[in-house]
């Protein structure tokens, strides 16, 4: 059956390769726009202006008195270490709170996730309006007679307070991301598990400790990892609230690139951020893959 064979051939080429045709443009775009800059970044990081191999950028990064690499690394890690636990705790609390039904729950839900759409720059500015010397916080406390001169949150000499301001702004802005992950995870736990525990007389704490937490573990893990990933990209909030007073990795990349024109050093920062993220991402993917396979297997 000749015509049938021919039909079959044309059919299979289109139908078999159609998904690849559909995916190819997006994938090649991504690979080019990530692969090319990464390669270019590595070249930039290790060559001088004439294209010769050099370690000058690395030396600058590590040893130049102008370089704030160690401070940036330290601050980035410290910000992550302080912010993430607070966010996870608040998000967990809010998720538990908002997973019960009450009048106005939907409204509360929307309000809690509003910060998802607020950019880091805007978030920083919003908190600047709260905390600046003429901001709401200081004016409020002064009007209430609790303080007589404003509390300074900004300025190189108040770096501890700047740090606090960044923490506040980031907790305010980015807790919603953690919240959404944990909340979604909580929604997936069948109510029957919890009700079963209730029927058997479990107290709230026992329910939390022995039913909800263990089942929420995957969500918590992925929330933690994603927040950690984002933490290494923290930029806008810090730039708005502290400028370079509190150097962070992305901020230094920006500064070296646009103010000092040290393209090689900026590229090094980029590579470092990418490398850290890839490592965290790898852990995430491994974990996700296990979960994905479990889900597919179960479904």
């Amino acid at each position: 059956m000749n015509s049938s064979d021919q039909n079959r051939k044309s059919f299979s080429i289109i139908e078999r390769y159609l998904p690849y045709f559909l995916i190819a443009p997006a994938l090649s775009y991504l690979l080019f726009f990530i692969g090319y800059p990464l390669t270019q970044g590595i070249i930039l990081a290790f060559t001088d202006s004439r294209g010769h191999f050099t370690l000058a950028h690395i030396n600058y990064l590590l040893y130049s008195p102008q370089s704030l690499f160690y401070a940036a690394l330290k601050n980035t890690l410290m910000l992550a270490a302080v912010i993430i636990p607070i966010q996870v705790m608040i998000a967990l609390g809010l998720s538990l709170l908002l997973s019960s039904s009450f009048v106005g729950r939907d409204l509360a839900l929307y309000i809690v996730i509003i910060p998802l759409t607020i950019s880091d720059v805007a978030g920083g500015l919003i908190w600047y309006s709260m905390l600046s010397t003429n901001g709401f916080f200081n004016k409020f406390l002064m009007a209430a007679g609790l303080i007589h001169s404003p509390i300074h949150f900004f300025g190189y000499q108040y770096r501890a307070m700047e740090f606090l301001a960044i923490v506040l702004a980031e907790v305010w802005r980015a807790t919603a991301i953690v919240f959404v992950i944990i909340f979604a995870g909580l929604q997936m736990i069948s109510r029957e598990y919890i009700e079963a525990a209730e029927v058997f007389g479990a107290s709230t704490w026992v329910k939390l400790r022995h039913i909800i937490f263990p089942m929420l573990k995957p969500s918590l893990q992925s929330a933690l990892l994603i927040r950690t990933l984002f933490a290494f990209q923290v930029f806008g909030v810090v730039m708005v609230l502290a400028g370079r007073d509190i150097p962070v990795l992305a901020g230094e990349a920006y500064y070296e690139q646009t103010e000092l024109y040290h393209y090689g050093v900026a590229a090094l920062y980029a590579i470092i951020i990418a490398a850290i993220s890839v490592i965290i991402g790898y852990i995430y993917i491994k974990m996700f893959k296990a979960q994905y396979i479990r889900e597919v297997g179960a479904g």
């Binding site: 509360a108 509003i114 759409t117 994603i226 290494f232 730039m239 990349a253 646009t258 991402g281």
Partner: protein, 278 residues
Amino acid sequence: MSRTEIGGRPPLRYYLSKILFAGIVLIACSWILLPIVISALYAFSTPKDFYSPKEVIPLHYTFANIKELLDLGAARATMNSVIVACMTVVFSFILGLPAGYAFARFAFKGKDSLKLLIIGLRMFPMLVIAVPLVTLYIRLGLNDTLLGVALAHTTMALPFVILITSSIFVSVPIELEEAAFVFGLDRTQTFLRITLPLALPGLTAAAIFTFIMSWNEVFMAAVLTLTNRTLPAFILTSAMAAPDFIKFAASFIMILPALIFVFIARKYLISMWGITIR
């Protein structure tokens, strides 16, 4: 459990816990809303009220701050941001929609690996590509162009668009498509006349999401442009030396579209974010 509790009036503890619960929810909501409201009020406050330590909440309002900010260059920057965001939406949908559809509708070799790759790329810190991209862009004449920023933003948005659209297409029952096949449509017609109309609300929400993503992005925009600043890049580089109330006007302009879009797409927000960050 004492016997009196059964069937009788709820104990005092019940009311107390209700009040406590409402209190916590109220605090949580005001923790989010208060800073937004305050910064918006300050954005319209007269400088005199803002500088006066007595006016905790400003009493006199003016559009002068917004106007001044717009005169300073924010008008152009806002326009630029809108252009970049729209281009990003268009590019990432042109590229991402077919891929999302393929992931939703086809079984093919390597699908899982490709999907994991996309999930992985979504986690990649896209801002790092901006730094080396400058060199390429200078060569291509894309440096300091809105197109260049949009291309970089597309890279950032594309994995999200693929994953979101894929899950939207999955939610359109495949039988609706098959019915169309059976009744005489080919794949393209089916996509255009059945799948697309059904996915449209979801896709609109996804487009809004992409728009906001680009609208909010600052690092790449600041690195890749010099004069054609987008709004966040403009604020970061130019508006920071301006008086405070001008900065608040800037933050107001920045969050306004976000708030409007949240309202439009509010039903989708949680599920969408759930998909993109799970």
